[in-house]
Symmetry: D2
Subunit: 135 residues, 4 copies
């Protein structure tokens, strides 16, 4: 997948019935779950899952999230989500996401999530070097 920016991945997701709503499309709040699954997978591909990051005492609570909905996803669609880190702050990090159809030629939605880096007590801490280096 040569045209992915460095540090980006593709994540595949099959839409289930439980993610849709009475309009017949994926409920708008469920895109946040897709974003989360994508950044989990992104971290796992670096060799350090988010679960492992937490075990090292660093948490990444979401500070801000947004999504732009262009074309609805429907039940049984196979979606491809391109996700990666688009911005590093001193004590924060931004992930960006683009959701495509099965053949990756139609853009369904875009979004981003901003996360603080905090310790177990919730206090902001500068991004540890080891965290930055894995990406």
């Amino acid at each position: 997948m040569k045209d992915l920016p460095p540090g980006f991945i593709w994540y595949a997701h099959r839409v289930s019935y439980g993610e849709t709503d009475a309009m017949g499309v994926v409920y708008y709040g469920n895109y946040m779950h897709l974003f989360e699954r994508t950044r989990n997978e992104l971290m796992r591909t670096t060799g350090m899952s988010y679960a492992e990051v937490e075990r090292r005492g660093i948490f990444l609570p979401v500070r801000q999230a947004d999504c732009r909905y262009r074309i609805p996803l429907r039940y049984d669609d196979l979606a491809w989500i391109k996700g990666g880190i688009s911005e590093w702050g001193r004590a924060s990090v931004v992930f960006s996401y683009e959701i495509y159809n099965e053949t990756k030629d139609r853009l369904h939605a875009t979004g981003s999530t901003q996360h603080a880096t905090v310790d177990a007590s919730g206090r902001p801490v500068p991004i540890p070097t080891w965290l930055r280096e894995i990406f």
Copy 2:
């Protein structure tokens, strides 16, 4: 509400879009959320919320759950859920639920959840007297 068994309550719930699925009805897994909201409210009416029970060191993880779906709930329906404790074990308790329409004359679903009583480490403990007495 004179015909409620002792220890039972009525809980009202308005169906949102996010609870429905592409069949236009409440997704079957979401009935578990309705059951949970009902037993939360039941405990709150006793004067001791489940949050308070946890602060006293007792947890009530679900061991078994079932639901029978008779008539679908739809978006914007106002549902009334009758809930209460139907059975006490030595270290477990069973809640039962019936979901009705707005006028309480049509039964949409029934269900139950069985809960263990455990301490913070997850070990089963006999139901404390203070817990049993609040109902």
Copy 3:
């Protein structure tokens, strides 16, 4: 509630276990459900529920959503959500939301959702006069 902007309401919501995550706080995607519940209630207070709007052939799919998370909500919290329409477009409308604690003196989160006005076939249509007038 005299200091609410015209067309705004307060909506109360009790946090359930099913809305929280392993960090012990409301999962970030679930704020979208709170926003939806608030705008449903807003429409209902006008005398015309969203279900009724749909029956008249107008749908309000979400085009954009965002949320800023300031202080986490926890299990059993009673949240008050202030919601209303903050902007009218020609064929779109923006709802804004602020989530407060039980005593309405601590701001937990803010957000907005932008909706298109479309007909049953999904085609954008100008906001009908009757829809605008109910607010």
Copy 4:
């Protein structure tokens, strides 16, 4: 996978944060989503997805569901779900599920869902031969 009963499959699922609750484990209602994903995948492996079944005019609404929770699933766990059809009625079908850990040697949960076969108007219809034959 030689020891699977005929018509059964293994489905892999990675637990996300959004599926957990404040007890640190997968919320009990979310097991219904896992069951649904498993039966979707089961049908897809037959060569006819549930989406295709619906296009042929047959719907499989859930009539009854139950789950027995033995060992909690946690964030980032990779679960394997064994699922298949365990019973055929005249106008109904029962799927059974067993949820295992990553190495398939620890049973976390078991459950079943009973589905009616109905037409687009919701009327029960005998199971079509073509539906039965694909399994």
